[in-house]
């Protein structure tokens, strides 16, 4: 197993977890790109020469951070000896996973943080058209309100004229208008024929049986 290059071994590590290799995103640092379940994973692998080029660790971390918008999980695979010199907290604080390897095994020293990819802006379907419709409805309501208010003003003027023409003292209701009422029937009152108007007999007859008969009546 130890004869295989580290790149092959890391690939086998992820393939064993069910990942599948995919093409690397544009501008991604050299490494492995994989799909693990629903997540996109990118792994940057440091060789033993990392100890000779100290700045390479920082460069690798920085390049991984730049992939946050396009990859869900980021890993840095480094020789186990590096683990003794690098603070694991640096990786945690940036959400980057750390894989440490030697000739015999590969171990996950720091679990990566899963980044939520910022997808394309959700579009509001027909947003402009909806707004226009709402505006048109509001305009129509406003015009209707204006018409209603004008009508109410006219009616109010009419009522004011009537009120001005009515005497402030209510007229006395003539007793001749007070006719016997029957109980037990609540049907609508019909309009009476014209020969009822101002007829004095209505009062005279309504008193029948409640007064003495005229002495001259035959």
């Amino acid at each position: 197993m130890t004869d295989l290059p580290i790149e092959e071994r890391v690939l086998h590590y992820f393939l064993a977890m069910g990942a599948q290799p995919v093409e690397s995103p544009q501008n991604a640092p050299t490494g492995l790109s994989l799909i693990l379940g629903q997540e996109k994973v990118h792994v940057v692998i440091l060789n033993n020469d990392v100890f000779l080029l100290g700045s390479k660790i920082i460069e690798s971390i920085m390049s991984l951070i730049s992939l946050r918008d396009s990859v869900n999980q980021l890993y840095l695979a480094a020789p186990r000896l590096l683990g003794t010199t690098v603070e694991a907290e640096i990786f945690r604080s940036h959400g980057i996973g750390l894989l440490l390897y030697d000739n015999r095994r590969i171990d996950e020293a720091v679990a990566p943080q899963t980044f939520r990819l910022r997808g394309p802006e959700p579009t509001i379907p027909n947003q402009g058209e909806t707004l226009l419709n709402e505006l048109a409805a509001l305009k129509s309501m406003y015009l209707q309100m204006e018409r209603d208010v004008s009508k109410l003003r006219e009616e109010l003027r009419g009522y004011q004229k009537i009120m001005n023409s009515i005497s402030s003292v209510p007229e006395r209701i003539p007793s001749s208008s007070l006719l016997p009422q029957e109980s037990g029937y609540a049907g609508p009152s019909a309009e009476l024929p014209s020969f009822f108007s101002n007829n004095p007999w209505l009062e005279v007859l309504s008193k029948r049986g409640r007064e003495e008969a005229s002495p001259i009546a035959g």
């Binding site: 006719l179 609540a186 009476l192 024929p193 020969f195 004095p200």
Partner: protein, 424 residues
């Protein structure tokens, strides 16, 4: 105005006039339904009667013309029950007609017992000279015919009283003149029955004198048709302000007063020519048959209007309207008499006399004639008017009476007023 809701729908009036029966509920408005006040008794033995569907024993209303047969039959089978204003006590056929007309009227405006309907308040109107047995007979008819409960309560009032109510005058004298007779009845909130005067003279007598005039003018053949005589009377008859003056005026300007009548739809034209002055006799005879000129007609066979006693009332034949009015008013208290003269109302078809344009010098209308007759007797401060609606004033008065008289005012046989309850 507070109104009696129930009776503003269900008051029903029936005016049994001498010629027409006017009836209908308050909802008819200004004008009631009218049919002839008559009934036809079909000949049950005739082939026509047997051939068709069984018909009623008596036919009333608009269907009568369909059943009429020969002219000879009309006298016996076509019955006008109120022709003289009074029905004889034993005249069963006349009462059958009255019963059939009452049923006919109520059936025409039948209401189902829903929407609160619990029977009409019916006000029937009879001649003011109707004796008590007529009230009894009529009320019995309503009792017997009320199996379906379409009448809640019924009452009967005299026609002149109804006229005063319809006209809206509470103190007055009503002169009602129909086909067979005329009645003068003072009213002071109640009809003053003791002061009534009845005349055995009406529109029928005007027809009689018209018939005599047609005979004199050579139109004897036309005098058998009563409807034609009536049309001639209405067309050429005039009421003179003063008969002697009118005759002189006519003789002075014969063309102007010439009486001509063309019978519509025929070739017949009646022309009184040089006798056109006689057109004034038609109106004069109604108001005053005492002029000596009428003696010649009586002498030649025209029946003189006689005094007749019907029930307790004497119908005066020859009393003129002036004397009759005075006789009636003078039976009332003295202090009431001036008030009565101030409101004399004329009602009935026999007062519908026209004054053709240009003839105003000699011809007058009925109110003027009555006023002149009273003036001749020294009564001057009078007001004589036609009722607002001569044809329907009785019906109007009955409707108002039925609407206004309290429900609890029960029928009183002494006063002949109030409600006789027929349904609970």
């Amino acid at each position: 105005m507070t109104t009696d809701n129930y009776r503003s729908h269900y008051t029903f009036a029936m005016d049994f006039g001498t010629s027409d029966f006017k009836f209908g509920p308050i909802t008819c408005g200004e004008t009631p339904k009218i049919v002839n006040n008559r009934g036809y008794f079909p000949d049950r033995k005739s082939i026509m009667y047997r051939a068709f569907e069984p018909t009623a024993d008596i036919i009333v209303g608009e269907d009568i013309p369909q059943y009429l047969q020969s002219t000879e039959e009309l006298a016996t089978r076509l019955v006008y029950p109120m022709r003289n204003g009074v029905i004889e006590k034993g005249d069963e056929t006349a009462w059958q007609v009255v019963g059939a007309l009452s049923r006919f009227g109520l059936t025409l405006f039948k209401h189902e017992a829903n929407n609160g309907f619990r029977g009409y308040y019916v006000v029937a109107s009879l001649s003011s000279v109707s004796p008590r047995y007529m009230y009894e007979e009529l009320l019995d008819i309503f009792k017997e015919n009320n199996q379906d409960g379409c009448v809640q309560a019924v009452t009967v009032i005299p026609q002149p009283f109804a006229v005063a109510i319809g006209h809206g005058v509470t103190t007055c004298v009503v002169i009602e003149s129909g086909h067979g007779n005329s009645q003068i009845c003072p009213i002071s909130k109640y009809p003053i029955r003791a002061a009534q005067v009845a005349l055995n003279r009406g529109g029928g007598d005007a027809n009689t004198i018209t018939s005599e005039l047609l005979k004199d003018a050579g139109y004897s053949d036309l005098t058998k048709e009563e409807s034609l005589i009536r049309k001639v009377k209405e067309s050429i008859g005039l009421v003179p302000a003063d008969l002697d003056t009118a005759i002189q005026e006519t003789k002075r300007a014969p063309r102007k007063y010439r009486a001509k009548y063309k019978v519509p739809g025929t070739r017949v034209e009646i022309d009184l020519e040089k006798n056109s002055w006689s057109r004034f006799l038609i109106g004069e005879y109604v108001f005053n048959p005492n002029h000596e000129i009428f003696e010649s007609y009586f002498g030649r066979g025209m029946p003189r209007p006689k005094d007749v006693k019907m029930g307790d009332i004497i119908f005066r034949g020859m009393l003129d309207f002036g004397d009759a009015t005075i006789a009636s008013v003078e039976r009332c208290p003295v202090e009431l008499q001036p008030l009565l003269y101030r409101e004399i109302l004329l009602s009935g078809g026999n007062f519908s006399w026209r004054v053709p344009e240009g003839l105003e010098k000699a011809a007058v209308d009925a109110p003027t004639k009555v006023k002149l007759l009273l003036r001749d007797k020294g009564i001057r401060n009078v007001s004589v008017k036609m009722t607002k609606s001569p044809q329907f004033s009785v019906w109007h008065g009955c409707i108002i009476y039925g609407f206004a008289v309290p429900d609890e005012y029960e029928w009183d046989w002494q006063r002949l007023e109030g409600w006789m309850k027929l349904s609970d």
